[in-house]
Symmetry: C2
C-alpha cells in the first residue's frame, strides 16, 4: 500500500479513512463530488503533503480513471448511504451504489490497480433467520433497494476477482457511529429533541434491535483485514457482539441531554420499508484475524451525541 | 394472467414462452430488440390475433413503458445470455442484465403491473460447496460477470417485492436445451464437427459435469410456479436430477452424427473464466409444487442436435 485512492473521501467514514491512511505515511488521493460530503472533514488532511483532493463524481468514469492514476489500492466508500428513502428514488441506489462501483472497477482495470476495499452492509442479509448472521448465511432475500444495490456491487467485485485477478475486501458494516456522523438515528433524535425536547416521534415500535460500531473500530478492522487476509475474495462482517433497542438508545440520548420527552411511536416492527427489526452480525471471522472493538454501542452513541452537540451547524445543512 | 408482456420474445426461450402463453388463450405482447433473436421464431405467434410484437430495447425505458401498457404479468427473459465472454465486455452484462431489469421493474411500476417472472441462473451459485445446490445455499461468491449481473437483478426484484408490493418469481435455470437453441455446447460442437468431423477442440478437460433442462420442461415449471406459488418472493431452481460430462455429451453428439473426431482439450478444470466445473441444482422445491421434467439430458441433447441439423441456417448467423 503506497498510494491509496479513497472515494467518498469527504464523507463520514471516508474522511476518517483518509486521516488514518495519512498517519500510516502513505500517499492518499481523495475523490468526492461533495454532494453529501463536507470539505471541512478534510481540513486536517489538506494540510498534509501526501494528500491530494480531486472533486469528481463516481458516475464520471473518465474523471475517476484520470484521478486514480498512480494509485495501488482503492478504498471505495462513496455511496448513497441512506437505506431509508430507497423507494422514493429507486434509481439512486442503483446508480450510486451498483453502477458507480462498476465505474470504480473499470477505472482500476484501466490503471492496473487490483486491490480494493469496499463498504458493503449488513442490510444485504435482509431479514435473516440466522442471528447472529455469519458471512456465509443462507442466500439472502433483499428487503431494501439499498441492500440490493450493495449486493449488485459485491457481485461485481467478486466477478472482477475471478475475471481480472483482483484482490477484493468486502466489509459488511452495521451502522457506523462516531465523529463526523451526519445521518442516522442519533442525528435524527438529537435534531428532533433540539426542536422539541418535550415530545419525540419514534419510527416503528421502538423495540427494533440494532447494532452499531464506532468509526475508529471499523477502520481498525479494515486496516487489519487488508494487511492480514490474502484470499482472492475476503468478506468480513464488521460489528460488535452487542445490540441495542431503539428505545434504549433514545434513553441514553435523553439522559445525556437531560430531557424526558413523551414518545410517540409510528408503530409496527419496522421503522420504514426495508428496515430490519433485528440486526446482529456474527463477527467471529474478523475477530479471528486479531481485531476487537474498543468502544461499546452506548459509548459510541454518547461520543456521537457529544460530537453533534459541538458541531450543530451539521444539523442545519441536511433535511 | 390476462395480458402478458414478454421481453426477449424473439429469443430461444422467449419465443417458446410466447407460443405457450398463446395456447393458454391470453393476450401476449412480445418485446425484443432483435439483436440476438430471430423474427422467424415468432412466425407462428404472428399469425395469432392475441399476439402483438413490439421491436424495442430494454435499455430504452420509455419504449418499454409504452409497450407494456395494459399488461398484468411480465416474463422478463431478455438478457445477455452468454456467460463465456463476460471479461471481453464487462459493461454488457451490467447493462443488459442488471440495468435492463431495473428498467423493466420501473416500467412495471409506471404501468401498475406487479407480477414478474424472471430468468435467473444457476451460475449465481458460483462454485458452490453444497451440491446439489438448494435455493438457500450459503451466500455465494460470484465467479462470472454474468452471474454477478443476474444477482444484481435478483436483488432488485426482491427489493421491489418489499418496497412496491410486487410478486416476483425468480427461476434459476441450468443451461436450457431444445428447439430454437442458438448458443451453447451442442451448438458449438455441431458447428465445429460440420467444419471438421475428424478433429474437435474441447474447452477444459472435458470432465466438467453439467446440467441441462429441456425448454418445454422449463416452461412447464415456470407456468406451474406462477399458478401455484404465492409468496411475495418465489425462488425456484430449475433443472433435472442428472448431470452429464462434457465428454459424454460429445459422445452422444458424435454417435448421432456418425463421426469419431480426435479430441483436443484446451485443458484445466474449467472451460473458461467463470465456468463452474460441476453444476447440479437441488430441485426439490419445484418438485414439491407438482412439476417433474419429462425429457432426460441425453434426449434433450439429441432433440437439440436434430433441430440444428434441420435448421443449419442458424449456424451461419452467429460467430
Amino acid at each position: 500500500m503506497n498510494a491509496v485512492f479513497v472515494t467518498g473521501a469527504a464523507g463520514f467514514i471516508g474522511s476518517h479513512v483518509v486521516d488514518r491512511l495519512l498517519d500510516l505515511s502513505v500517499d492518499v488521493v481523495g475523490f468526492d463530488n461533495l454532494s453529501t460530503g463536507f470539505t471541512a472533514f478534510l481540513d486536517s488532511a489538506r494540510s498534509r503533503p501526501r494528500f491530494r483532493f480531486v472533486e469528481g463524481d463516481t458516475l464520471d468514469r473518465e474523471a475517476l480513471t484520470r484521478a486514480m492514476a498512480g494509485c495501488d489500492v482503492v478504498f471505495h466508500l462513496a455511496a448513497n448511504a441512506d437505506v431509508r428513502f430507497g423507494t422514493s428514488h429507486p434509481h439512486k441506489d442503483l446508480e450510486q451504489n451498483t453502477i458507480a462501483t462498476f465505474n470504480v472497477l473499470e477505472a482500476m482495470r484501466a490503471n492496473r490497480v487490483r486491490r480494493i476495499a469496499f463498504s458493503s452492509t449488513g442490510s444485504i442479509y435482509g431479514e435473516p433467520e440466522m442471528i447472529p448472521t455469519p458471512e456465509d448465511a443462507p442466500f439472502p432475500i433483499q428487503t431494501s433497494l439499498y441492500g440490493a444495490s450493495k449486493l449488485g456491487a459485491e457481485g461485481l467485485l467478486n466477478a472482477y476477482a475471478f475475471g481480472f485477478d483482483f484482490e477484493v475486501y468486502i466489509f459488511r458494516f452495521v451502522s457506523i457511529l462516531g465523529e463526523r456522523y451526519t445521518h442516522g438515528h442519533v442525528y435524527d433524535f438529537f435534531k428532533k429533541l433540539l426542536a422539541d425536547p418535550h415530545r419525540i416521534e419514534v419510527l416503528g415500535n421502538g423495540r427494533q434491535r440494532k447494532s452499531y460500531l464506532y468509526v475508529h473500530d471499523c477502520i481498525d478492522a479494515m486496516l487489519i483485514a487488508i494487511k492480514t487476509a490474502c484470499e482472492r475474495v475476503n468478506i468480513f462482517n464488521l460489528g460488535t457482539e452487542e445490540y441495542i433497542t431503539v428505545d434504549d438508545s433514545l434513553d441514553c440520548i435523553c439522559r445525556a441531554l437531560g430531557v424526558n420527552p413523551q414518545r410517540h411511536y409510528t408503530g409496527g416492527e419496522r421503522g420504514w420499508i426495508g428496515d430490519s427489526p433485528f440486526i446482529l452480525l456474527d463477527t467471529k471471522k474478523v475477530k479471528s484475524i486479531g481485531w476487537a472493538p474498543k468502544v461499546s454501542i452506548r459509548e459510541g452513541v454518547l461520543k456521537t451525541l457529544a460530537y453533534l452537540q459541538a458541531n450543530q451547524h451539521l444539523l442545519e445543512r441536511r433535511s
